[in-house]
């Protein structure tokens, strides 16, 4: 096979979302250094938003002609396109809710948006990679930008703590992943996912041994950390609580969705031939993640921490979809991530707004009587929480429905039933927030809340629309997910 070092136009198109995001991110950093202190950074936010939109559009354009790129390092298929659009959409929503928050804290600058774009670029790469080293590059690109974002308000102690924790633990996880890749390479001599799959399917290749199993375990550790699955979920509550609220929104969705894309691609393609080795592990991890997330969330008093545990529980539900090991399972996971993006960013957007300057109002008590102080915002947050609970006519319901249906399809009755009962437990802590907002009076010292900024309003409108559209007409997304799930292999 002759390898040309000049990429063809077709390959460039297939890689164009990442190229665009990286270029704009660099330009934003340059622009920041040229801008005067104190001048408005709104233009930078708009640029970041538009470039994410453009990246999503480019992903769709590139998907018109699916196929590999750069000697099979990338695979542009329906699956990668779905996740590219998803992480770009998450990035757009986060940019919308960040702008006013950063301005309030006097820290709005081009670097923030550049970091978001770099992180999203990494996530797009994670979704599209078909090779372990590329996956690792995408993962690091996304993670390193996220570490910086978590500590973005550098004068804030909580931010620093969150960033340091995230960085240390995240680096360990990355190292595990990379170590796994190295072992795999040692055992098989390749890092290409398709090639590995071929070798694993071929009994005469001799790569099915202990070495591969150990390498798989290492990869699973790295991935489990990135999706905050038990027993590697410890970092999530601390980091979400400490990081700025919009960043916590971002961390809970973007990197997680991309990590699940990796998870799906690696497990469902490459390691499918040796599934009996790791399937029981995944069952246990899924169940433990749901149980730990839900039960730990029950008595949290900090909203951000509560949402962090809730996002751990949701990772558990998605893992249930993964354990189904079927195309319907993959489609269910994809649908769930789309639904989760809207409802979780929506919930965090309201929290960002309530938190106010220096995030003084992030305790559950601070939401007391919100229905009186701002009926619209209370109603909107209730919609997201009901969706997270899984009440019909919202996106979360169909998300859960498809996941547990996929589990039952694969005869995992016990896991489905335990998962459903878990979601009944979850109802309790989501209800606690609604109870606070609607059934308690505002505390006498509550300051009047400012009207939400235009960006937050826009993000909320989009999230509410997404939550209801997916809750009433789930086919719109599910059909696409179902059509692209089988393309994985």
């Amino acid at each position: 096979m002759s390898v040309s070092f000049v990429p063809s136009a077709q390959e460039l198109l297939r890689f164009s979302p990442e190229i665009l995001l990286a270029l704009v991110a660099t330009a934003l950093m340059v622009a920041e250094s040229l801008m005067k202190d104190g001048s408005s950074r709104l233009r930078l936010a708009v640029t970041a938003f538009l470039s994410l939109l453009a990246a999503a559009v480019l992903s769709v354009v590139a998907a018109a002609d699916p196929g590999p790129a750069f000697s099979n390092l990338l695979a542009v298929d329906g699956f990668s396109t779905f996740f590219r659009i998803l992480v770009c959409a998450a990035g757009m929503l986060v940019v919308l809710i960040s702008s006013s928050y950063l301005r309030e804290h006097g820290h709005e600058s081009g670097e923030y948006y550049a970091l978001v774009l770099f992180s999203v670029a990494g996530q797009c790469l994670m979704a599209a990679s078909n090779e372990l080293i590329m996956l690792f590059i995408g993962l690091e690109c996304s993670s390193i930008a996220s570490y910086v974002l978590a500590g973005y308000l550098r004068d804030d102690k909580r931010n620093n703590e969150a960033a340091l924790k995230y960085f240390l633990l995240g680096s360990f996880a990355s190292a595990f992943f990379l170590y796994g890749v190295a072992w795999l390479w040692g055992a098989s001599g390749t890092t290409s996912l398709s090639e590995l799959r071929r070798l694993l399917l071929d009994p005469s290749s001799g790569v099915q041994g202990t070495m591969t199993a150990a390498a798989t375990a290492l990869l699973l550790v790295g991935l489990a950390f990135k999706v905050s699955a038990a027993p590697f979920q410890m970092w999530a509550p601390d980091v979400y609580q400490g990081a700025p609220a919009p960043v916590a929104a971002f961390l809970s969705v973007g990197p997680k969705a991309a990590a699940f894309a990796m998870f799906l691609r690696i497990l469902m393609t490459t390691f499918l031939p040796i599934r009996e080795r790791w399937e029981p592990v995944l069952w246990a991890v899924a169940l433990a993640t749901m149980v730990i997330g839900n039960f730990a969330a029950l008595h949290q008093s900090n909203i951000k921490r509560l949402l962090a545990y809730s996002s751990i529980a949701h990772a558990g539900y998605i893992l249930v979809a993964l354990t189904a090991m079927s195309d319907t399972g993959a489609a269910a996971a994809m649908f769930y991530l789309a639904a989760y993006t809207f409802m979780n960013i929506g919930a965090f957007a309201v929290v960002t707004w309530v938190a106010g300057r220096e995030e003084r109002h992030v305790e559950l008590m601070d939401l007391a009587g919100l229905a009186r102080r701002s009926p619209a915002m209370a109603a909107v947050l209730s919609i997201f929480l009901l969706s997270l609970t899984g009440v019909p006519l919202t996106a979360g319901f169909f998300g859960k429905f498809y996941i547990f249906k996929a589990a039952l399809d694969s005869d995992l009755v016990w896991l489905a039933v335990l998962g459903l009962l878990n979601s009944a437990v979850a109802a309790y802590y989501y209800l606690r927030i609604i109870v606070m907002m609607y059934m308690h009076e505002p505390s006498s010292s509550a300051e009047p809340l400012p009207a939400p900024a235009a960006g937050i309003r826009l993000a909320l409108a989009a999230s509410v629309a997404g939550t209801f559209v997916l809750g009433v007409a789930p086919s719109l997304v599910l059909d696409y997910a179902a059509a692209s799930a089988p393309m994985l292999r």
Binding site: A371, P375, L386, T389, V391, P392, L393, F397, F401, F404, K405, L408, D409, V413, A416, V417, L420, L421, S423, A424, A427, Y428, L431, R432, I434, V435, Y438, M439, A473, P474, S475, L478, D479, A482
Partner: protein
Amino acid sequence: MSLLDILLLIPAAGALIALVLPADNPGLIRKFTLFVSILAFLLSLGLIGPVGANAARYTFETDTVWIEYPAIRYHVGVDGLSLWLIILSTFLTPICVLVSWKHIEDRVKEFHVFLLFLLFGVIGVFVALDLFLFFVFWEVSLVPMYFLIGIWGHDRRIYAAVKFFLYTMAGSALMLAAMIWIYNRAGTFDLRLLLDMLRTGQLSFSAAEGFWLFLAFFIAFAIKVPLFPLHTWLPDAHGEAPTAGSVMLASVLLKLGTYGLVRVALPLFPEAARGNAPWIIALAIAGIIYGALVAMVQPNMKRLVAYSSVSHLGFVVLGIFTFTQVGLDGAVYQMLNHGISTGALFILVGLLYERRHSLEIADYGGVGTVAPWLSTAFVITSLASVGLPLLNNFVGEFLVLQGAAQAKFLYAALAGTGVILSAVYMLWLVQRAFYGPTPEPVRHHVTDMNPREWALVLPLIVMMVWMGVGPQSFLPAISAQNRQVLELVSGKPALQKSAQEVAHVR
């Protein structure tokens, strides 16, 4: 778009319109909601003629695709079983608006939006013929009730609301799992299609499968009914809810459980239903007696009525699981009776509360001397609840006991004690609250009924008498549908069914 679709649409559209009405004009919102709910009631009356003519079949059917895959259909229809329950819901909603006219002062808009949304949910449950749609409405009806209790309830409202939500949610989780299992076996959620497949043998459940599926559905329904010992959420929810919430909860929401038993659990799993009947009947009878005994010692009027509901609903479950025509007819009739008489009791207790601001029986006494008409209405309702002949509950309880006696005389003997006990707690309540010396606060605060209050109590009393004297206005439609359910449960061949269909055509 059939009449039924419009009936379903009206409360939903009404709720959305009420949402954009100005919040600072409570009068407008009240009138608008009253208008919408009366409109829904009048429309629902239009169902009687066409459905009554052919009560064993679904009328006003609409069947279109909602979601392609998995095949979920918007399939609605109404038959003799759901007809009166729908009308009961639409009949009580305007009454609930009226009873809250002065009672609800706070957040008037939200209250009425939730009330209309609740009506939308319960009508949806009664008309859904697709299991998935049934589940969606089942859950949808949960949310507004949660808010009604939690926001406008009494002191311990939050505890009660959360308990109510979590109990139902836990049951629903099991039901959803069972539904998905059925779908995976049959490839459809459509109730009629499922029954056809069961009849022709295209679909069959093994004994173990049938047992677990039945149990999942049964627990979900039994929590809602509520069947002893899953009833503990009910006294709290009732005791703490505002009057309108208690009325809707007792009269309509509890019926979702018993309706689900007859509509879904029995026809889909006849063998499991028969096999498990003995212990279910035992629980029902335990509930009848236990509910009555606990009601007797309640110091709080609302909790007393709530425990009486546990007892009354025990009769309904008993009637259903006798698998006799009279028993089942009586059970369904008793669902309606309980809706009317317990609804009326909650309203009258609510009227007392508005005056005296207390639900403790000990705070009352001699109300009869200061408010004779209110007392008269209360006594009539109590007698109806007790099961006095010529009033509605008598008919239902009599039929249920007859059915129970046909099944096993012991059942009837045990359940019969419930009737006696109900007389004890109700009449004792009447005696303590309405007779005897009148304490000063009662003399001072308790006035007789005003025209608005008459307007909401009188229709209920009329219905108690009508349903007691002329059950033939209601029973034929119910019986026709029940006959079909029984044929399915008793496993008689389809031949008999077609013979009956021939008779209908004739």
